[in-house]
């Protein structure tokens, strides 16, 4: 076939191509490494004598260049056609492809987990059905201790001392009993109390507990951990206040407040005119707690902290009633 015939054949091929795929096929027809028409022509050159080579070489080269240019041009044309297609109008959005939503509590717990994972904490949810031993006794809460009043307990069997855990500290006593130090863990968990539910307190709620036991752990480490944690949660501008606070399972105990972001500590209705909002309870794990869990408190020390998750969630997501979170009041639109 001479070059003119070939060009003619190519012209008819290319004019019938209407989309990218067709152009790609034409490209392969002429230039495929194994069996392209032009590729073959150029391959054949090597078997010709020097005269023919001199004559046909430039001719084939020009032909090859011309065809390649025409293909590029066609590609551009098709590209332009797509852009000019009146049906392809990119200026208006359509509804989203459906993706699911994570519950705000899970979202918040994940954020907290992110921080603590980075600092080498394991995550342990623990069991919700507990014994008095792990929920109270090992945590330095003997029977009739006034602090048990703070947490009216839901019992499954009072006779057998089986209950629904009233706080995630029960996981602390389990952990300390089960593992040998060093221990570093956080517990995001469901807790239960025998309370009549209102907008801020539910019979079912989430706590987030942290525990560290090792040699040489002191209250300065607790302060540092909590400072970094709050900066992570609320930003670097957060102002914290540490003060003594009693909790039976720790001694010394420590309460943590953040300065009210609305009034900057002056006192307003949000912070009940205190200027500060209480966020967290913590302290050095009680001597008796360590002992009752089989850890020598003369060798190991540790700290623990507990934070109410729901209030943080409600604050962040603008949810006013805890019942909306867990009693089916909240949906995603």
């Amino acid at each position: 076939m001479n070059t003119d015939d070939l060009l003619q054949k190519f012209n008819s091929d290319i004019s019938s191509a209407v989309n990218k795929k067709a152009v790609d096929e034409i490209y392969l027809k002429y230039f495929s490494k194994s069996n392209g028409i032009i590729t073959n022509l150029i391959k054949e050159l090597s078997s010709l004598n020097i005269e023919d080579k001199k004559k046909l070489g430039p001719l084939y080269n020009n032909l090859s260049k011309e065809i390649k240019d025409r293909i590029d041009k066609k590609r551009e044309e098709i590209e332009n056609n797509i852009k000019n297609n009146p049906m392809v109008d990119l200026t208006y959005p359509l509804p989203a492809k459906k993706i699911g939503n994570l519950h705000p509590t899970t979202e918040t717990i994940r954020k907290m987990n992110d921080f603590f994972r980075y600092y080498g904490f394991s995550i342990i949810e623990g069991q919700e059905i507990e014994t008095e031993e792990y929920n109270f006794r090992k945590l330095n809460l003997p029977e009739g201790h006034p602090a048990t009043d703070l947490q009216d307990t839901l019992y499954i069997s009072q006779k057998n001392g089986i209950l629904l855990r009233t706080h995630t500290s029960s996981v602390e006593s389990r952990l300390l009993t089960q593992y040998k130090p060093p221990i570093r863990a956080v517990t995001p968990g469901r807790c239960y109390r025998n309370e009549t539910t209102n907008s801020t307190n539910g019979a079912f709620f989430y706590q987030y507990q942290g525990v560290v036991v090792d040699k040489g752990i002191n209250i300065q480490n607790l302060k540092s951990t909590l400072e970094n944690f709050h900066k992570f949660l609320f930003g670097n501008d957060v102002i914290l206040r540490f003060r003594y606070k009693y909790y039976p399972e720790v001694s010394p105990g420590m309460g943590t407040d953040i300065q009210c972001s609305f009034c900057k500590g002056k006192g307003c209705s949000i912070c009940k005119y205190r200027g500060w909002v209480e966020v967290l309870g913590s302290g050095m794990i009680h001597y008796n707690t360590l002992k009752s869990c089989g850890i020598d408190p003369e060798i190991y020390t540790g700290f623990a902290f507990g934070i109410g998750v729901d209030r943080l969630v409600m604050q962040k997501y603008g949810i006013k009633d805890i019942r909306d979170l867990y009693e089916g009041g909240m949906i995603y639109l």
């Binding site: 079912f204 003594y244 009693y246 039976p248 010394p252 009940k272 020390t301």
Partner: protein, 645 residues
């Protein structure tokens, strides 16, 4: 705890304004509870410190914190007369297990009248109305020192005795507030002539109460079993200033100090003279002795605090220092600090008085220990992500629900306040389902929701905690008011397939077992029941599923070109024939079969009566013709199938 500032300043000379004082108290552990007015602070009281229910207890801590002197209230008074036959009020304790101490004193020739202004003012600022000087003094000493006290008019007593005994079942008393109470044997009463005059440690009656005509009184300061008062007052739903203090642990020594203080005030304000009377205190409880090592302060706080500073703080707080060495201090814990149990509580006192703000902050230097996060936690998190990718919304629902007596596996709660919350769920759908209604009310049509949570079941009899089980479950519900059941079930099955695909679980079957359709996963030789499926919901048991899952999943990674071909087959089967077994047979028939899809199910009388037409697409690789013939023959044989094409 309300603290009238004028009263506080009886024990500490302080010039700070109320806000500043409130701040100091907050650092000490008594956080400001309510808006300050200029005269009274309301401090949030934690349950440990019984002395923080007294003004002197609060003042003593404040003095130590501010570096000021604490001024002890005076207990100096003229000596009383010895008890004689005529003055004696007999004390008989018939329930010694409930009464640790019962200290009494007899006052004669007193003049009951209005209280002096200073006394009235303090009580009223605190919130106790003034009655008369004697009642006011008992209330004053209670708030000042934390010891409830009680005065009875001797001339109103038929018998000159106070007998403390357990109440009889059904015995009735009428309280000072006019409330009629029916008592039981767990409670105890103060009686005279076998008539109850006081419900022990909880509330008094009018029978022997002091009025303006009273001349002679017997005053008592008791110390009772705290646990019993706590239980009884909760049971009777009585909460008052007396109960508030008696349900904390008070040292019996307090009854003595308070008696001296009250004696001084009565003699000063109401005149008369006093006779010593019986002080029942059979088992003297010694004051606790502890030692505090400087090394322990360092161990717990990381700070070194000088010996003289430590001693000074302890002294101001009322500790009696017995001995000091360069390593430690031995001391006696004062009677009002019943909260102090261990050495670390002393460390807490040192740090507290030094102000927590002054403790430095130091990161943990130790290397993190080995991770012990249970695999199931990571699996749950993974599943949440999978479900989100499948367009499903996560919900969390309260696992407490009403009791269902027909559910033998259900765990019931013994003491729930609310019958709506009297048991634990045995499946998640029971609590999750209601969320669908909220979506429907909001006119959302295409709803997929799920919860990753626990279900709770019990064995027949609860012997111990091992008879109760928590199981991690994922439940998903799909709802769409515009679709029929068949379409909804298809949507739901594609969500399930998405989960299995994400977990690289290929060999799963849905098998009808009685009323339920059960999900099995095969793994080598094991066949594990991993869940149940209904037309609009499914539940998966996560521990079991986890064992079957493979991730990171690998089998979907492909690095070669597969010459995948397809073949459609149409089968006519009986109307009631389940497609699952047919699907399984085809899918597992030959290794060249890559995927099998049920594309369409049609019920058409014109094709055949009582039959349905199934269109199945088979993706295969390599040779299939011969395999297909064998397979169709087996299908015909096993399921009585008619092959259409």
């Amino acid at each position: 705890m309300k603290v009238p500032l004028i009263w506080l300043k009886d024990y500490i000379k302080i010039n700070k304004n109320p806000r500043e004082i409130a701040e100091s108290f907050t650092y000490l552990g008594l956080m400001l509870d309510k808006i300050i007015d200029d005269k009274v602070l309301d401090l949030e009281h934690r349950m440990d410190r019984s002395d923080w229910l007294s003004i002197t207890g609060c003042a003593r801590d404040l003095a130590a914190f501010e570096g000021k002197e604490f001024i002890n209230p005076s207990i100096e008074h003229p000596d009383g007369k010895p008890m004689n036959e005529e003055s004696r009020i007999d004390v008989k304790i018939q329930c010694p297990e409930l009464v640790n101490r019962f200290n009494t004193r007899v006052f004669k020739g007193i003049k009951v009248s209005d209280s002096p202004q200073w006394l009235k003012e303090r009580l009223e600022l605190y919130g106790i109305p003034s009655i008369n000087n004697i009642v006011d003094i008992t209330n004053f000493v209670m708030v000042e020192m934390g010891q409830p006290m009680h005065a009875q008019d001797i001339d109103k007593m038929q018998k000159k005795e106070i007998v403390i005994r357990r109440a009889k079942e059904g015995e009735e008393i009428t309280t000072l507030l006019g409330q009629k109470l029916s008592l039981n044997n767990n409670q105890f009463v103060l009686t005279q002539n076998n008539v109850p005059t006081v419900l022990g440690g909880i509330v008094g009656t009018h029978l022997t109460s002091v009025d303006l005509n009273t001349k002679n009184i017997v005053l008592d300061a008791g110390n009772y079993d705290q646990v019993s008062i706590r239980k009884n007052s909760r049971e009777l739903k009585i909460q008052n200033e007396t109960v508030l203090r008696y349900d904390k642990y008070l040292h019996p020594h307090l009854a003595e100090t308070a008696m001296e203080r009250a004696t001084k005030l009565i003699l000063e304000i109401a005149g008369g003279e006093y006779f010593n009377n019986i002080d029942y205190y059979p088992k003297i409880i010694p004051l606790k002795k502890l030692s505090l090592r400087y090394s322990r302060i360092k161990m717990v706080s990381g700070i070194e605090i000088g010996q003289s500073r430590v001693e000074m703080i302890l002294r101001t707080l009322g500790y009696k220092i017995l001995n000091t060495t360069d390593k430690d201090i031995s001391l006696e814990v004062p009677y009002f600090r019943t909260d102090v149990e261990v050495e670390d509580d002393l460390v807490a006192d040192i740090l507290r008085i030094g102000n927590y703000s002054n403790i430095p902050s130091t990161p943990i230097h130790n290397a993190p220990p080995k991770e012990i996060t249970p695999p199931i936690y990571k699996f749950q998190e993974k599943l949440r992500d999978i479900l989100l990718n499948l367009g499903m919304n996560e919900h969390i629902t309260n696992p407490l629900l009403p009791k269902n007596n027909n559910d033998i596996k259900q765990i019931a709660l013994e003491n729930s306040f609310s019958s709506d919350r009297s048991a634990l769920r045995t499946n998640i759908k029971d609590t999750l389902e209601s969320v669908i209604d909220v979506y429907r009310k909001n006119k959302v049509k295409d709803i997929g929701i799920f919860e990753v949570g626990n279900i709770y079941t019990k064995e027949k009899e609860i012997k111990n905690i091992d008879s109760l089980k928590e199981t991690s479950v994922l439940t998903a519900i799909y709802d769409n008011t515009e679709l029929n059941e068949y379409e909804i079930s298809n949507k739901l099955k594609s969500i399930l397939s998405g989960i299995f695909s994400s977990l690289d679980i290929k060999d799963y079957v849905y098998v009808r077992e009685g009323k339920n359709t059960v999900i099995y996963v095969n793994n080598n030789m094991d066949k594990e029941r991993v869940g149940e499926i209904e037309y609009n919901s499914f539940s998966l048991h996560l521990e079991k599923l986890m064992d079957m899952a493979n991730y990171p999943r690998v089998s979907h990674i492909c690095t070669r070109i597969i010459s995948k071909r397809t073949e459609d087959i149409s089968l006519i089967v009986k109307l009631r024939q389940e497609i699952g077994p047919i699907y399984q047979l085809i899918k597992n028939y030959d290794k060249n079969i890559l995927e099998v899809e049920v594309r369409e199910v049609t019920i058409d009388e014109n094709i055949k009566k009582d039959a349905k037409l199934i269109l199945i697409k088979i993706y295969y690789e390599g040779e299939f013709k011969e395999v297909k013939e064998r397979m169709l023959a087996e299908l015909k044989d096993k399921f009585n199938i008619e092959v259409r094409s």
